[in-house]
């Protein structure tokens, strides 16, 4: 489902970041551990098609996105990849529900408020659907971010330090929800983190 081969990247043309090959099967949950500066975020951006690699292959569901450019890549990303960031960001002028509607619209998916309500309910933030995102707590924001990443039923879900800003209680809850929701849409989940609290939760681990 998610494979890389000989992936490398360079910011300045001299120092190359080499990444180990990855092979995640459909529905598997992986943890990618690494210290700060080890290139975790770079790898996640390469996997999510936010950055084009200098060399190598990124294969998502049979498509090598390393060769894709422009709006085709944008569309592919919107439809097949869900990304959750360390700090949840939203379009500030929109409500929670509208942010999810925007996610559907930008991915070219039909707008479905039913699906959005369902996602928000499942993540226990259904009652917040009319709130502006900055009115929510950090934990609630991260749950809405998960709902947004999952609303288009992506093939893979990438999470960049999703728990590092959260306390233990929220950390456990968010990881639990992530795993549960990824399983619900049968998506491959890859969590990139330096948060050692998560080690116990994942059987499949890669170290950078």
């Amino acid at each position: 489902m998610l494979q890389t081969k000989g992936l490398y990247y360079s910011y300045d043309g001299r120092n190359q970041l080499q990444f180990p090959d990855i092979d995640c099967k459909k529905g598997e949950h992986w943890l990618l551990l690494g210290q700060s500066g080890s290139g975790k975020t770079t790898l996640l951006h390469l996997l999510g098609g936010l950055l084009t690699p200098k060399g190598g292959v990124v294969n998502i569901d049979g498509t090598n996105i390393a060769n894709m450019v422009g709006s085709a890549l944008d569309r592919f990303r919107g439809q097949r990849v869900g990304i959750i960031f360390q700090k949840a960001h939203f379009v500030k002028s929109l409500t929670v529900e509208e942010n999810l509607l925007l996610a559907q619209q930008l991915a070219g998916a039909p707008a479905s408020k039913t699906r959005i309500r369902e996602m928000l309910e499942r993540l226990n933030v259904g009652h917040k659907h009319r709130s502006k995102p900055d009115r929510l707590s950090a934990g609630e924001q991260q749950r809405v971010a998960i709902a947004r990443a999952l609303v288009n039923q992506p093939a893979i879900i990438l999470a960049d330090e999703p728990t590092s800003a959260l306390d233990d209680v929220n950390c456990n809850e968010v990881i639990h929800l992530l795993e549960e929701q990824a399983a619900a849409v049968a998506a491959t989940l890859l969590v990139v983190t330096h948060d050692s609290r998560l080690k116990a939760a994942f059987r499949n681990q890669i170290h950078l």
């Binding site: 999510g48 944008d74 919107g78 360390q86 379009v91 002028s93 930008l106 707008a111």
Partner: protein, 416 residues
């Protein structure tokens, strides 16, 4: 949640900045549109009422005042002239003059001027009878369409005039004679719509009446005068003469000057005076227009600045939209749309303000001068204004939009 809705929400999310941009833009476009409306309607009124009049002859004084009074019926007369003096121009068979139409003024009925004249005035303004007939005898009147509609006068109605040109509260010095409506004119769009027309003898009779009351005499012969031509009343006065030449040539060009130099009369050329009025007005209009364009320029700048600074705050948001599948061009159009929305809304508010203002102004003008402007006439220049607004909105948005389109997703998110 389409692009249009999104840009609208982005704008309304900052109500103060939105209000400032809209007010600035509305002020600029509103001012321009108001100037356009005013000058075009004023010009239309003036041009329509030129009516092929080549010269106006009246008492000495301001030539513009003579024109405004005799042709547009907005100012008071410069004085009266005696028929003895005016006779040379009123004679039929004058080698240069095709028509000389006498006007006598001095009374009004509920602010509508009563003008003593001959039937020739109808031909001048292409006025036709809608109902009834033309005035024939003393005290008979044929009234303009606006007068009839506004005052609800019908054929056979009688009324009394007041002295002067406006009926002011408490100053109601009604003259005693009874005017009778014998005809109503079709609307012509010209100044006759606002006039009460009668014969010259009626105006004399009104004032004789007033004089007689003072001196307690009862006999007057006004009715007997009806059948005699005006030039026989050498000792009587009229206000002015509207002159139409047979053709314009060197001689007619000199006629005005010669009247002014050699007689106690004044001759004024409507085309010349009105052009001078435009020229004087033009300076003010130009200055206001320059001010309006400066305001529009500033509002364009203000749109640019608010989009530009919002871009900084929204960098992460824009990167996020790219993550969710938005292409570069989509972000570009999102920002362009925000600029266009601001400009178009501002322009529409401006147009509404100017037309609303025009409607209010027309109400005031109507009370003061019996001149009707219309607030709800749209000019083709206003479409150009709207197109210009679109252009300014787009220009203001184009740099921020290019920057939005260039948002580097990875870099922005890494800063997170």
């Amino acid at each position: 949640m389409n692009l249009f809705q999104l840009s609208w929400k982005n704008l309304t999310n900052k109500p103060l900045s939105l209000a400032l941009n809209l007010i600035l833009f509305a002020l600029g476009t509103g001012l321009i549109s108001l100037l356009l409306l005013l000058s075009s309607q004023l010009q239309e009124k003036f041009d329509k009422n030129l009516a092929g009049i080549d010269l106006v002859i009246g008492a000495k004084g301001s030539p513009l005042q003579l024109i405004l009074c005799s042709m547009y019926h907005v100012d008071s007369p410069t004085g009266n002239i005696s028929i003895k003096e005016a006779k040379p121009f009123m004679r039929s068979g004058h080698p240069l003059i095709k028509a000389a139409i006498p006007l006598s003024m001095g009374d009004n009925y509920k602010n509508y001027r009563i003008v003593g004249t001959t039937h020739d005035i109808l031909g001048l303004y292409n006025a036709e009878i809608q109902e009834g007939k033309k005035w024939e005898k003393t005290w008979e009147t044929t009234i303009g369409a606006t007068v009839a509609a506004d005052l609800g006068l019908k054929i056979g109605d009688r009324f009394q005039s007041s002295h002067g040109f406006a009926t002011e509260a408490g100053m109601d010095m009604a003259h005693d004679g009874d005017f009778i409506v014998v005809g109503i004119l079709k609307p012509s769009g010209s100044v006759v719509d606002q006039l009460i027309l009668t014969n010259t003898q009626t105006i004399w009779a009104v004032h004789e009446h007033a004089a007689e009351e003072g001196s307690d005499t009862t006999a007057h012969e006004a009715h007997a005068d009806d059948s005699r031509p005006l030039i026989e009343f050498e000792d009587r006065d009229i206000t002015s003469l509207l002159i139409q030449f047979k053709s314009r040539n060197f001689q007619t060009l000199n006629m005005g000057r010669s009247i002014n130099e050699n007689t106690d009369l004044q001759a004024a050329s409507p085309a010349f005076e009105i052009n001078r009025l435009y020229a004087n007005m033009g300076v003010g209009v130009d200055a206001l227009q320059a001010l309006a364009f400066a305001i529009i320029l500033v509002s364009g700048l203000s749109i640019f600045i608010s989009l530009f600074s919002s871009l900084k705050e929204r960098r992460y948001e824009l990167a996020l939209m790219r993550v969710m599948g938005a292409s570069r061009s989509r972000l570009f159009f999102l920002i362009i749309l925000e600029g266009l929305l601001l400009a178009v809304l501002g322009c529409i508010i401006g147009l509404l303000l100017s037309h609303g203002g025009m409607a209010i102004l027309s109400g005031l003008m109507k009370d003061a001068y019996r001149y009707a402007f219309s607030g709800w006439v749209f000019l083709k220049e206003e479409w150009i204004l709207l197109a210009g607004a679109l252009l300014i909105g787009m220009l203001a948005a184009v740099i921020p939009a290019v920057m939005a389109g260039r948002t580097d997703i990875s870099e922005t998110l890494a800063e997170g």
